[in-house]
């Protein structure tokens, strides 16, 4: 303990202060600043790609973004952890990416689809999961995208999962997607007012949708209306 005397040289204090500053600075850079910046970059890129796919599906521009916003709000309402919430948000953006392989003519058809055409449209969740699964750092979204058209009572596709077997994120996506689809314009229907959409969602509570998610979503809409 060579230099440890009653009077510490002022430099030691400065040195320790500097250590604290540098340590905090690098912690901030690597744990807060850089991940935040990257997350923004990812969201921007994913959103742009989602929009590019949406242009095939006329009238759905902005759909992915709105669904992502609702899904995050519902996830918050359900108290879902931050990491999982981010996963749900990314999945909401990339959910319909499999539509790149669905002929645009089917997506925009105003008359009822033939069974094989319907199969083709249905294949988009599988394809979306495949595309995402092929990208190493996005493969964690695969199951949410694969199951986002499953129904609570097992009548959905592609795996006909029931109830809690469906990943929670997919259950959230099912409700929020449908709500936004009903309220926005599509080739095959006019936009419905929110009240009617809420009615439809409510009538699917427990059959098509997870009741807990529907309740959370209704609370989100209420809060939004109040704000």
């Amino acid at each position: 303990m060579a230099g440890l005397t009653n009077t510490w040289p002022p430099g030691v204090v400065i040195a320790i202060l500097m250590a604290v500053v540098v340590t905090f600075g690098s912690w901030y850079y690597s744990v807060v600043y850089q991940p935040r910046k990257l997350q923004r970059a990812y969201k921007r890129a994913l959103y742009t790609l989602a929009t590019a796919v949406e242009t095939r599906d006329s009238g759905t521009i902005g759909h992915a973004k709105r669904v992502a916003r609702y899904a995050v709000a519902v996830a918050d309402e359900l108290g879902i952890r931050k990491q999982e919430r981010l996963r749900i948000e990314y999945a909401a953006l990339l959910r319909d990416i499999g539509k790149v392989n669905v002929p645009a003519i089917l997506l925009n058809k105003t008359t009822p689809l033939e069974p094989e055409e319907w199969d083709k449209v249905k294949s988009h969740s599988q394809l979306g999961a495949e595309i995402v699964g092929a990208v190493p750092f996005l493969s964690f979204l695969g199951d949410l995208i694969l199951h986002h058209h499953e129904c609570w009572d097992g009548s959905g596709y592609p795996s006909e999962l029931m109830g809690e077997e469906i990943p929670l994120g997919s259950r959230i996506l099912a409700v929020t997607t449908d709500y936004d689809a009903i309220t926005s314009e599509r080739p095959y229907h006019k936009p419905q007012p929110p009240e009617q959409a809420i009615e439809q969602i409510k009538s699917g509570r427990g059959s098509k949708y997870d009741p807990a998610v529907v309740d959370a979503f209704l609370r989100v809409l209420e809060n939004e209306g109040a704000a």
């Binding site: 430099g11 540098v22 744990v31 590019a52 095939r56 055409e117 083709k120 990208v135």
Partner: protein
């Protein structure tokens, strides 16, 4: 890193020779005294501790890095060349031998895999090889790598002394009393840092090049410089940031050593080192972003049956053309990404139009012509790819000003990168046997015959099979087509480069998927 290629062995032998020469010379000229030995012991222990939690860096994850540089710098300003050379060798040998032994013992031990992994990453992480390596290899790996570290440290120390630096372990009080800290310490310290940085980068570049070898047909000066630059583009953003963060650690270590005592440095070293590692990881996340987004974009396009393989080939060909034209390293680096994403704008265009056999209506043409602009708009929103926006926007613009988009400003003045993509794209479109190179899949119902048939009509839904563009041309016919188009459709410079390249290397169509 295991290299059995001969140039790499030469490099290793040379580095061992230089290391031994350096160590012998400094030990003979400046033999360490008792105080120096104490410092060597203390700082070697520091280094061994600092080596305990290394990270693998880089895209390939084979380069393992630790942060002993700030400790070595502290040694060189305190005690000079002899000490730093010895610390480098001693610490490196101890760390690696310990790592090798741990790996060996753990390999034969019967305990849960999770424990093994944790212990290995904590203790044996710095060891670059595998536990089953024979002792002779271990010795040669340790010798060569330790020699490199010793050489870098020794040269930096010599730079410090020759720039007028005073060894602080003996001359510190005098420096402070005479107010000569700037000329006697800070300036020479900066010089030694610069030396260390240059040597570190040089060693990285040379070892990568000798390890991987330079392809036979690209042994001219430009390819060599380009290769070095590409490697530096990968590493300098990471190591460069380290050089902002690490010198303060050195100053702190030196200060505490002089004022409080040798072991006080340990108190601050820990947090610093772990944060340095997390900063490094954060920088790498950024690199992963580029790959992730490009891969996603590529896979989205893949589902159009005709683009499989095409994108990869365009990317390869564009990169080769950029090299042939001796474009800057950054362009060469981004070219494959631009090649993969050049048609991303087509994702929004319906394939009824893209694959239509008959004549297109004006409206349909207008939709098709939008795809380069749409693609550019998509890429515009992707960070780190901003430079490629113009390349994608103008890849259907002709050299004579026709083509699309017709926005006037760029008539006859297409960026050369866009012209490169145009040539690569056109050549591949002309030669690719699109029908034969992919599985036969019905465009409307997705039916795929199991016996490999290629019917004119889909047996399941009866839809006629559409063809794109035309029958594939032979390579020669396609090259003729390019030659004819030079000056009107294609940039003459790029076509000339293409012909030269094909003359020398052949077509080399790689990458089926």
């Amino acid at each position: 890193m295991v290299g059995s290629s001969r140039p790499y062995d030469k490099f290793r032998r040379a580095s061992v020779a230089v290391g031994i020469l350096m160590t012998g010379a400094v030990c003979y000229l400046m033999p360490p005294d008792a105080g120096t030995w104490q410092g060597i012991a203390a700082f070697s222990a520091f280094t061994v501790l600092a080596n305990l939690r290394p990270v693998s860096v880089g895209k390939d994850r084979v380069t393992v890095t630790t942060i002993n540089a700030p400790i070595h710098w502290a040694v060189l300003v305190l005690f000079g060349p002899t000490a730093v050379v010895l610390v480098a060798i001693i610490a490196f040998a101890i760390s690696n031998l310990a790592g090798w032994l741990t790996a060996r013992i753990l390999a034969g031990l019967d305990c849960p895999k999770q424990w093994k992994r944790t212990l290995l990453s904590a203790l044996a992480g710095h060891w670059l090889g595998r536990p089953q390596y024979p002792a002779r290899w271990v010795l040669s790996l340790i010798l060569s790598n330790a020699s490199l570290e010793a050489t870098m440290g020794g040269c930096a120390a010599l730079a410090y002394i020759s720039a007028g630096g005073v060894l602080l372990s003996t001359g510190y009080m005098e420096l402070v009393q005479n107010h000569r800290l700037f000329a006697g310490f800070f300036l020479p310290f900066a010089a030694s840092l610069m030396t260390y940085f240059v040597l570190e980068e040089a060693v990285y570049v040379i070892s990568r090049i000798t390890f991987e070898g330079q392809p036979q047909d690209t042994r001219d000066w430009y390819s060599f410089v380009l290769r070095c630059k590409l490697l530096l583009l990968q590493t300098v953003p990471i190591t460069g940031r380290g050089y902002l963060l690490l010198p303060p650690i050195t100053l702190l270590l030196v200060y505490l050593y002089l004022h409080v005592g040798a072991w006080s440095g340990l108190v601050v070293l820990g947090p610093f080192l772990s944060f340095r590692l997390s900063v490094q990881k954060a920088v790498e996340q950024q690199e992963l972003y580029l790959d992730t987004i490009a891969t996603l974009g590529t896979y989205m396009q893949h589902y159009h049956p005709y683009t499989r393989g095409h994108l990869k080939r365009v990317a390869d060909m564009s990169e080769r053309l950029a090299r042939e034209l001796k474009l800057p390293a950054e362009t060469v680096m981004l070219m494959p990404y631009a090649g993969l994403l050049h048609d991303i704008g087509k994702v929004g265009v319906s394939e009824e139009i893209l694959d239509k056999v008959g004549k297109l209506t004006d409206e349909e043409w207008a939709t098709i012509k939008e795809h380069p602009v749409k693609g550019a708009e998509i890429v515009e929103h992707m960070d780190f790819l901003n430079r490629t926006v113009e390349w994608i926007r103008y890849h259907h613009k002709w050299a004579n000003g026709s083509g699309y988009p017709n926005d006037g400003a760029r008539n006859g003045n297409v960026p050369i990168e866009a012209a490169i993509i145009a040539v690569a794209d056109a050549f591949d479109a002309m030669t690719d046997d699109r029908e034969m190179s992919t599985d036969w899949v019905c465009d409307s119902c997705g039916f795929k015959p199991e016996n490999g048939d290629r019917p004119e009509q889909c047996p399941q839904c009866g839809a006629a099979k559409r063809r794109t563009y035309r029958e594939p041309l032979s390579m020669d016919a396609a090259i003729d087509e390019l030659r004819r188009g030079a000056g009107s459709q294609f940039s003459p410079v790029v076509v000339k480069a293409f012909l030269q390249m094909v003359d020398r290397e052949g077509i080399k169509l790689g990458g089926a998927d």
